[in-house]
Amino acid sequence: MTVFILRRLLQSAGVLLATSVIVFLGVYAIGNPADILIAADATQLERQSAIVALGLDRPLIEQYWIFLSNALRGDFGRSFVFNQPAISLILARLPATLELALVALIIALVVGIPLGLVSGLKPNTLVDETIMTGSILGFSLPNFWQGMMLIMIFSVWLGWLPAGGRGDTAQVLGITTSLLSWDGLTHLILPATNLALFNLALVIRLTRTGVREIMPLDFIKFARAKGLTERRIVLVHVLKNIMIPVVTVVGMEFGSIIAFAVVTETIFSWPGIGKLLIDSIMLLDRPVVVSYLLVVVFMFVIINLLVDIAYSLLDPRIRLRDTQ
């Protein structure tokens, strides 16, 4: 297993290098940041000095080389827009997104698994069909529209919850979080729900399918014959077996939630990294875009690894091998 993990980490270094080249070239191909960042009434003199200040007067290959050699020393460059280290901008925004993604994931699991179980255990009943229809809505309603509707209903009409922003935050072990204050929590509910809905639908469907597949299997019949209670059969034997697909998909989805919560973060003015990414792309803030995607690629590599390890813990039949 150690060899397996080491090999995985080595491969990821290659992936990171390839990503940096592609993104660097991609942002370069879009346009010239100086055209976006200069003052609206800039003179020739100012435009030229901006290009020099941002290091854009050098050949592309030299710009990349400077980036790469600095990156190897842990310096990912300074943001063109904010003139702050790109990586610290990203890390400063990361807790907000992680918190949002985590709460969304918990909502998806805590609500989704029981609903999926009910649905799977009582197939083709009214309850099942209601839940299934609901999950279709979760899948197919655009995220953006869902968010606007949540705001319209709960903030504008009912006035129960704030329409956006992060609210009061507290510092715990150097990390800023909204989980510890009432105001922070109220700000979190709507965006987390918005982000959770798609995954909630996904979890319901995965759980239902899993239950439907496992219920007719021999070991369930055997458990019944042995005289185990229905409760024990469902909560221990069925649940454990349906967790493998759920863990895989949710693991991958968790990565996506963190990396691409752009829509939710924009609608709810949530100060996370998704909003930072979209703003940086608009302004061609190359150091931030490149560093962001490197962070995301790294994160996906780690999540994949954790998912693989979680497999082997959930299902003893699966062994992590160093496949050649």
Binding site: G31, N32, D41, A42, T43, Q44, N83, P162, K275
Partner: protein
């Protein structure tokens, strides 16, 4: 029990009343975010919004962009190259230290030395050859060449405290440690992507600020801003999308504040080259000679545009038809330049006269995320040109980050752009958009058409060398008449900018598009 309840109610009420009689707080839903708190780091509008409240300038623009005394109370030319500026007495910085000529000299020297600044104040301080402190409240400036618009340029640089800002890093400003100004509000904190906070400066030299604490919530999404205002989360929002103005006006408890902006939306025409990539003949190849070189063709195109219709249908009426760059009220606005009315007969005649009775093929380009309605305006223009007798081969809209670079490289033939004026006169726009593209002379930096007219350039040089403001404006008008008579660009409209607030909060809608707490007021 009822006694107790009454007592409690009374207490609660009285506590409400006492807080109400004290200063009020203001929460703003802002569409833009500063790049840094250091006022010299970026001259672009989003960073100026916070700087304009925490810091002062030698002269301050009013809501019509005309300059008023700020930290300078008076200025005179001793000769063409020398300016003597008298500073305001008794002004103190937020940390209590007095404001003196030392701070001005320090700020002006610092303004073009900010590392990695993408939009420095270089051009603002470029005229200065030397500065001499005559006494703590008098400075004598010598300029490198006669600079009539000296105060409009150099006077617009923010004045920081020498003691606080000397050697300070951008982080020291962002944390507030070095962000010490003389402005009506003091900087409190900034959480990037979320909000920044200001608090009133009790010892402000000018009109006392109305709000105790001001919070700017950063909401780049327009729908989110409108929802936050409707939900009562914020008191004031800016950049209300034109499509939402009617809804907000109809809502209870919401007020809408609109003003025409100093931003011109125009169609640039690639009129300098013999062949233009998207002006094509029936065979699909670029026409040579390029019809856009002919002023009659450009005039014909202007007469195909129903400007009022564009504004009514695409912008829900939020704009004013334009026939020149400067709106009424700005220096350089000529009353004789009226927007062209739609006249298809005349357009047809002009096209025939120019040798294109059957028109020609054209593709229109535009950004789609730069200002409200930019992509839709391009679509509508396409239809108007088709109706006017041209063959519109397509309307292409792109995100601004792609579009701006491509337009700068002359990749388009007919393209929509905007230029925002934030100075008392239209001189910067008339210099940067319309004068000959010339890196040496520093003119025409946004002349993406590469339009070049020696008569106009001469008229502009004459205007820019004029020291008397009234005479300069008259000369700018003459230059405007030359260049718009030649249809160098086709001005379309000046959009209205709109703010919305809850009842009880007033706002001075301003030409400069600034969202400042100093423009907001309590109206109850």
């Amino acid at each position: 029990m009822p006694m107790l309840r009454k007592l409690l109610l009374g207490l609660a009420l009285s506590s409400c009343l006492t807080t109400a009689s004290m200063a009020v707080d203001l929460t703003v839903g802002s569409s833009t975010e500063p790049a840094a708190i250091d006022p010299h780091f970026s001259r672009s509008g989003n960073s100026q919004q916070i700087a304009a409240q925490v810091f002062n300038r030698l002269v301050e623009p009013d809501e019509n962009l005309q300059i008023q005394p700020g930290l300078a109370v008076s200025w005179t030319n001793l000769d063409e190259l020398t300016w003597e500026v008298k500073l305001r007495e008794g002004v103190t910085f937020h940390d209590g230290s007095p404001f003196t000529a030392e701070d001005v000299v320090f700020s002006l020297e610092r303004a073009d030395e900010i590392p990695n600044s993408p939009a420095p104040f270089t051009a603002n301080v470029a005229p200065i050859a030397s500065m001499e402190i005559v006494d703590p409240l008098t400075i004598r400036f010598t300029t490198t060449k006669p600079t009539p618009q000296f105060m409009e340029l150099t006077g617009m640089v923010y004045i920081v405290s020498k003691a606080a800002a000397e050697g300070a890093s951008i982080e020291a400003f962002n944390s507030g440690e070095a962000a010490i100004g003389t402005g009506p509000y003091k900087f409190v904190s900034w959480t990037p992507g979320d909000h920044y906070k200001l608090t009133l400066n009790e010892t402000y030299w000018g009109e006392a600020p109305e709000f105790e604490n001001v919070t700017y919530r950063l909401m780049s999404n327009s729908a989110a801003r409108v929802a936050a205002l409707l939900a009562g989360d914020v008191d004031l929002i800016d950049s209300v999308p034109p499509g939402d103005v009617a809804t907000l006006e109809a809502s209870d408890g919401i007020q809408v504040h609109s003003a025409p902006s100093g931003r011109i939306i125009y169609l640039g025409l690639d009129s300098a080259r013999d062949e233009s990539p998207f002006i094509i003949g029936p065979d699909g190849a670029p026409l040579n000679p390029n019809p856009l070189k002919d002023v009659r063709v450009r005039q014909a195109m202007s007469k195909m545009i129903d400007r009022q219709l564009l504004i009514d249908r695409v912008l829900s009426g939020a704009g004013m038809p334009a026939g020149q760059l400067a709106p009424i009220g700005l220096g350089g606005h000529s009353t004789s330049l009226q927007p062209d009315q739609i006249d298809l007969e005349a357009a047809k005649a002009l096209l025939a006269e120019a040798g294109f009775p059957d028109g020609f093929g054209i593709t229109i380009h535009s950004s789609n995320d730069r200002f409200p309605g930019d992509g839709d305006i391009a679509q509508a223009l396409g239809q108007l040109f088709q109706r006017g007798g041209l063959t519109v081969n397509g309307v292409v809209t792109q995100p601004y980050n792609v579009y701006a670079t491509a337009a700068g490289k002359q990749e388009f033939s007919a393209f929509i752009f905007s230029f925002g004026t934030s100075t008392p006169s239209a001189a910067p726009g008339m210099t940067n958009v319309l004068m000959t593209f010339d890196e040496e002379a520093g003119t025409g930096s946004f002349n993406r058409m590469r339009y070049s007219n020696p008569d106009y350039d001469a008229a502009m040089r004459d205007a820019l060398a004029e020291f008397d403001p009234a005479a300069r404006n008259r000369k700018l008008e003459i230059a405007a008449e030359i260049v718009f008579g030649d249809y160098a660009i086709l001005p379309l409209y000046w959009p209205e900018v709109t703010w919305a607030s809850r009842d009880g909060i007033g706002y001075v809608a301003n030409v400069s598009e600034d969202t400042l707490a100093t423009y907001a007021s309590v109206t109850e």
